[in-house]
């Protein structure tokens, strides 16, 4: 039987004809990626604004009268949930997943394009429901992003009726939408890779997104279960999580529920969520470092295995978020052990990034600056994770600013640096223009140094014992005056970093018209997305013929070549074989890449 790539079969192709089907109800993975990215960044800006108002209150208490204690907790809650779920998860998987999987695997589109389109619109609905909670009586929930019962649905907590209901409904909608997208990502990776693209030739970006999607598909149900049960406790009066409790002087109708059950379910989702965000970042940063250091990724196989190991281990560490919940101390020992074990594959990845840079021909491009900034920040955040992973150290640090500093470094700043690096790297492919480099460098240094000005002092605050989640510290006896001064400095840095992001947004828009023309492959990279016949790629990505892959994705710095890289789809020259190691044969990147004529297309790329 003749080989026909699944992504090239008629059933999976679609041909948008109108503006609406091309740009709005689009089934094209690239358009959907942009839709995801714009929506995620828009709601992310809201979360950024909320964090600014939090810092206004913390840095300058009693100054801004419009920020009440209820408002403060609402800002904290919505900031956390939006950043973790609606920005980072959506942007990495919905944005970069949609953009990169078909392009880097050599497919024309996702295998279920209609479902893919539906995934975005359901995600948008989830965002709108969440935003609606700002406008309902009582405002959004102020329960903290972990939504712990009983306070999440108890009177006295801001948004304990409409706000929390809309939050839970929005999360459920998000999970349904993500499941549609996630199925697409996995099946496309498994089934729609072009000829020659074995799993072990896939770029690490695809590996990271692939594994993160598996984690998300298995972990999000835990959040769904807890959301459904909490909604029933709230709306029907059941007692899954709600114990017998006196609220505002009155006995509630609940009895016997287990708040700890909620914590188990939440963190069973919550910890893999860290890696749902981190694994795509790991994959993407591997590609950025290799491309911009002109050196093959060090230990590719180990990188893949580490991604798989981290994915598996991420499901058995959840209770390290619950050391102070009163659980059995033996559980604490078990989860501390698994937490330390997961540091091993993570450290392997860090070593491999550093060893890739070692003796590389490092180009300090803007994407590379962000990639190195990520490695630096991730090491810092990871090291404080070792503190918090140990029960005896965690207990005194629990619920202090040390925790806030840790998770912002490892899960906030680190992945967002990768997001920025990735946008600077792939913007030329998406738009055909380069982002302005000067603005990019200013953006990097201000963001990088600014975030350190915010979060490094927070470690110190945490060690002093300054508690998190407090609206105002007041005249607490163990908190010295220097803490208040430091809070002012942190807030000032936070305002500065937030303002710099506007420069980035300006660059995104300004460069659409004024950026330098990028050409097809401005970074001289090897992976398939840089070898589309058109930039930006047209519908169907590859014109008449699908690419054929002959080698792995990291053939950089090859001695003896006219140029220093070999594209994945560069056909073999005479004498090159499976045993041939690809070095020293003098073929240059003439871009006369191998293609396989796709049945069902004429030479013009039209469907026949």
């Amino acid at each position: 039987m003749a080989y026909v790539a699944i992504a090239d079969q008629h059933a999976h192709l679609h041909d948008p004809q109108t503006f609406v089907t091309k740009y709005i109800w689009s089934q094209d993975h690239k358009v959907i990626a942009i839709q995801y990215a714009i929506t995620a960044m828009a709601i992310g800006l809201v979360a950024l604004g909320l964090s600014v108002m939090m810092r206004m209150q913390l840095g300058f208490p009693d100054t801004f009268r419009f920020i009440s204690p209820d408002n403060y907790y609402q800002f904290v809650t919505m900031h956390g949930m939006i950043m973790v779920i609606y920005l980072l998860t959506a942007l990495f998987l919905g944005g970069f997943g949609n953009l990169l999987i078909p392009l880097q695997c050599g497919a024309r589109d996702m295998v279920f394009p209609y479902l893919n389109m539906l995934s975005y619109w359901v995600y948008l609905l989830a965002v709108l429901v969440l935003v609606a909670s700002f406008f309902v009586p009582g405002g959004p929930t102020g329960a903290g992003w972990t939504l712990y019962p009983p306070q999440a649905i108890s009177h006295g907590t801001a948004g304990s009726h409409w706000g929390i209901t809309l939050m839970l409904v929005s999360l459920a909608i998000f999970i349904v939408g993500f499941t549609m997208g996630g199925l697409n990502y996995i099946v496309t990776v498994l089934q729609a890779r072009c000829r020659g693209m074995t799993m072990m030739r896939m770029p690490l970006s695809v590996w990271g997104i692939f594994m993160a999607t598996i984690l998300a598909l298995l972990a999000f149900p835990a959040l769904l279960v807890s959301a459904v049960m909490m909604t029933l406790d709230l709306q029907v009066g059941t007692s899954f999580f709600m114990p017998a409790i006196v609220s505002m002087g009155e006995q509630t109708g609940h009895a016997g529920g287990s708040p700890l059950l909620f914590q188990h379910l939440f963190w069973f989702f919550g910890h893999p969520e860290v890696y749902i965000v981190a694994l795509p970042a790991f994959g993407i940063v591997s590609d950025l470092i290799s491309t911009h250091a002109r050196r093959h990724i060090f230990g590719y196989r180990m990188m893949v295995w580490a991604i798989l190991a981290i994915g598996a281990l991420s499901f058995v560490v959840w209770a390290h978020h619950m050391y102070v919940s009163g659980m059995n101390p033996y559980f604490g020992f078990f989860f501390a052990t698994t937490t330390l074990i997961i540091a091993v594959p993570t450290a392997i990845k860090v070593y491999n990034w550093v060893l890739t840079l070692w003796r590389g021909h490092i180009h300090l491009t803007v994407p590379m600056l962000f990639a190195i900034g990520f490695v630096f920040t991730f090491i810092n955040g990871g090291l404080t994770g070792l503190f918090l992973g140990n029960v005896t150290v965690d207990v005194p640090l629990s619920d202090t600013y040390f925790v806030v500093a840790h998770f912002h470094m490892v899960m906030g700043v680190s992945p967002i640096l990768v997001v920025f690096g990735a946008i600077y790297h792939w913007y030329p492919k998406v738009t055909g223009r380069m982002l302005n480099e000067t603005m990019g460098r200013i953006h990097f240094w201000c963001t990088f140094l600014g975030t350190y000005a915010i979060y490094l002092p927070m470690h110190y605050l945490g060690i002093l014992g300054v508690p998190r989640r407090y609206y105002a510290l007041g005249d607490t006896y163990f908190i010295p005056d220097s803490v208040h001064t430091m809070n002012e400095a942190i807030s000032t840095a936070a305002f500065f970093v937030a303002a710099v992001q506007l420069l980035f947004l300006f660059n995104l828009i300004w460069s659409l018209k004024n950026g330098k023309h990028a050409g097809g492959n401005p970074w001289r990279a090897t992976t398939l997305e840089w070898f589309t016949p058109d930039t930006p790629p047209r519908h169907g990505n590859w014109g008449a013929e699908l690419p054929v892959v002959y080698r792995w994705a990291y053939e950089y710095g090859v001695p003896g070549l006219k140029d220093d890289f070999v594209p994945q789809n560069q056909p073999p020259v005479g004498g090159e074989s499976a045993e041939f190691h690809g070095h020293g044969h003098g073929y240059g990147p003439g871009y006369g890449q191998g293609h396989e004529h796709a049945p069902g297309h004429d030479k013009g790329g039209r469907h026949t």
Binding site: M1, Y3, V4, A5, I6, V111, F112, T179, L183, V187, L190, Q191, A192, R193, C194, R195, G196, M197, T198, M199, M200, R201, L217, L218, P221, V225, V228, M229, L232, V236, G237, T238, S239, F240, A255, G256, S258, L261, H264, L265, F268, R301, W305, A312, F315, V316, V548, V549, Y550, W552, Y554, P572, E576, S577, A578, E579, F580, H581, G582, G594
Partner: protein, 229 residues
Amino acid sequence: MSLWVAFAGILAGVIVWWLAVRRLTTRPWEAQGTADGRDSAGTLGPPPARIGLWILLAILTSLFALFITGYWMRMGHGMAHGLTHDWHPLAEPRVLWINTVLLALGSVAMQWARVATNRDDPARARLAWWLGGAFAVAFLVGQYYAWQQLQAAGYYAAANPANASFYLLTGVHAVHLGGGLVAWIRTAARMARGGAGLDDVRLGIELCTVYWHYLLLVWLVLFGLLLQT
């Protein structure tokens, strides 16, 4: 959470086996200059929809395993804390036995439709297909009747966590069967449009049949759990 961890262990085993098949020990940097290793990414591989369904079933298994875990932990919570009046198992209505038979008959009918499709027997395939859907609808009606009976007998959701868990587990199962019926209607519509041939619906029939079997299995687990606790 041990139930879920057991499920995760089995799933991890399947993933490890699959990855071993995918030869994750190969050294990609040594195999330059060849387009070999096309894996299953061509017509010789299974259709994407089939793979998609099996992945969906893994996700749903995760979901149901977590619901069961929540049920189990909530039940144990009262006992562990000496709350003697916390958990009162309800008397499952007898109609659930009839509903179980209906769901099983639906599964048998769908299997019959699949076999008839493989034998290119459109008349029998259609008959069996309609029967499969009808039995599923009858099951849902029966479940609704069971809920009504429990409500009439005073087993309200808010009254006791055992009642609430019953409504929750049966409700979640019913929602998934409802989703299956949407796919069933789509395939039925395609069957009606397609005339005498079965080519357009062969895959749809296969996938719906697998889904029906899966939901029967889930129901047997849930029903057994509810009867035993």
